[in-house]
Point group: C2
Chain length 308, copies 2
């Protein structure tokens, strides 16, 4: 048996706490101002949000916030809000009209376990819940700061971020007109929007919660941008080289769908060296924080090397 | 030619200003923190948001706020955020997996003018934009107040409000299991969630923006709840009695789909007298505001009598 890996332990601890928090936020009891929580919709939201994700984004938010001595409870609440956005995006991306996936983390996707209408509504309601949660006083007592988080989250998730990135990705597949392969730069923009923006937000949010100065915010932003790109390249490598039983979803699907990826554009070997360069960039961005940032350094390597 | 109706003029003025604001918010230029605004997604969002709605919810918000001397610009911005939520809900409700509508305000619905994937994303991005907009300083300089608006909007729109109401409505049609006709009370709960919650929020938001005291907030809440119900009964009467060419969407569709409505449960004549009672309730809730509330009184009659 291997000795326990402190990084893996920290990641697992955040996942456990985030799961517990999401479980509580998705309880049967209506919140103040709500009229009722229809069971079927709640079940679908719970299926989407409590399916055993790694909770990487809440972890990055929490560890970024920890650099500035932010209370764990506030960061966990902000992380749960962010995870609601991530989970909604998976539900909608899996829909038949989008990527048409039947499996997610080894379980049926929401529209398979329920139906399409319920999946659309569950995604909508999770996105809405994210802003409800981010607005709560438990995130941070200062309302100015919560409003800043809400604004940044909305920009990261909306037309100029994640949703826009999904649009560009579908367009690159040739859904709407004749397919024109994207160049390396256009792929980078698409990925910075589709997956990068939320990861980058996670790191920036930690700095915002910690009332960090402009320089520290900029370092976290650089770090987040680097690991966002690394995450996507690792994901694309996994699609090419991974084993579907381990990953819990279909592999080699992106290539089959003609998805625009840097791995396809650069080749596997150049993509691997790009990945190493991004990890070095993330490390460099953490230089000013010293040993306090060791977990974030380990997170960069984890993101680049992940097998699932 | 009829003399100009001051109420209609006020309503039209808010619609014009809201259209202009939404046009600006949905401009081609990315906002700060956004990476790019993909043209196709922007076009679909504009199709959804700039299709010539009456802008009833922004109007109610603005007129409620006016009772407390709130600046018109702040209320218009909050109204635009609210209208983004309303427009997103129409896009998603019209989807083939939901109500499967091809026409909205006399124009093709978003998934007809574009495609399903684009419509799903356009709805998602409009919902996200709503919170971006509500977080802006232009709504009100006090961040505590903006956070309160964001929280109430999320609760009105999410599982415990609008999205939950759509779920109950689909369930009542017998989508998921054998159809069991809803009783009058269950229909009222479903409608209070599906359409009532946003209308009620509009009126409450005016009071929040105006830093109204608890009593005034409660009066606006009563008013909003009454006209929310009146709006839905009028809408259901229109479906039974209206002319599709005037309304710009299919009629007699609800009855065909077996939708649960109070008109079906009570009959047309009892529904009409319920409507009159609700207008009287809305009037009574405005009693303490005197002549200042004349426009809101006229709005209650407008909602009950609307032909389109």
């Amino acid at each position: 048996m291997n000795p326990p890996d402190p990084f893996a332990q920290r990641l697992a601890a955040v996942a456990t706490e985030t799961d517990a928090l999401l479980d509580r936020l998705l309880g049967a009891e209506p919140a103040e101002g709500e009229i009722a929580r229809p069971q079927r919709l709640l079940d679908a939201m719970r299926h989407a949000a409590l399916g055993g994700g790694k909770r990487l984004r809440p972890f990055l938010l929490l560890e970024s916030a920890a650099l500035f001595g932010v209370s764990r409870d506030g960061a966990l609440m902000a992380g749960a809000a962010l995870e609601c956005v991530h989970c909604y995006s998976l539900v909608h991306d899996d829909l038949p009209a989008m990527d048409d996936d039947e499996l997610r983390r080894g379980r049926p996707t929401v529209h398979k376990a329920f139906d399409e209408a319920t999946a659309i509504l569950a995604g909508d309601a999770l996105l809405t819940l994210a802003f409800d949660v981010m607005a709560r006083r438990e995130v941070h007592p200062d309302a100015e700061l919560r409003v800043a988080l809400i604004s940044e989250l909305a920009r990261a998730a909306g037309i100029g971020g994640m949703a826009g990135g999904q649009m560009l990705d579908l367009a690159a597949e040739g859904r709407f007109e004749k397919k024109r392969p994207l160049g390396e730069d256009a792929i980078a923009v698409m990925q910075a929007m589709k997956t990068g923006a939320l990861i980058r937000f996670a790191c920036r949010a930690g700095a915002i919660l910690g009332n960090a100065d402009a320089k520290a915010c900029a370092q976290l932003d650089l770090y987040g941008a680097a690991i966002g790109q690394a995450f996507q390249i690792a994901d694309d490598l996994l699609d090419v080289e991974g084993d579907s039983a381990t990953i819990g979803k279909a592999t080699a699907k992106d290539a089959a769908a003609g998805k625009a990826t840097l791995v396809a554009a650069l080749g596997v070997s150049a993509a691997r060296s790009r990945l190493n360069k991004l990890v070095a960039q993330a490390d460099a961005a953490m230089a000013t924080f010293g040993a306090k940032a060791d977990t974030l350094r380990a997170a960069a390597r984890f993101v680049a090397q992940r097998q699932i």
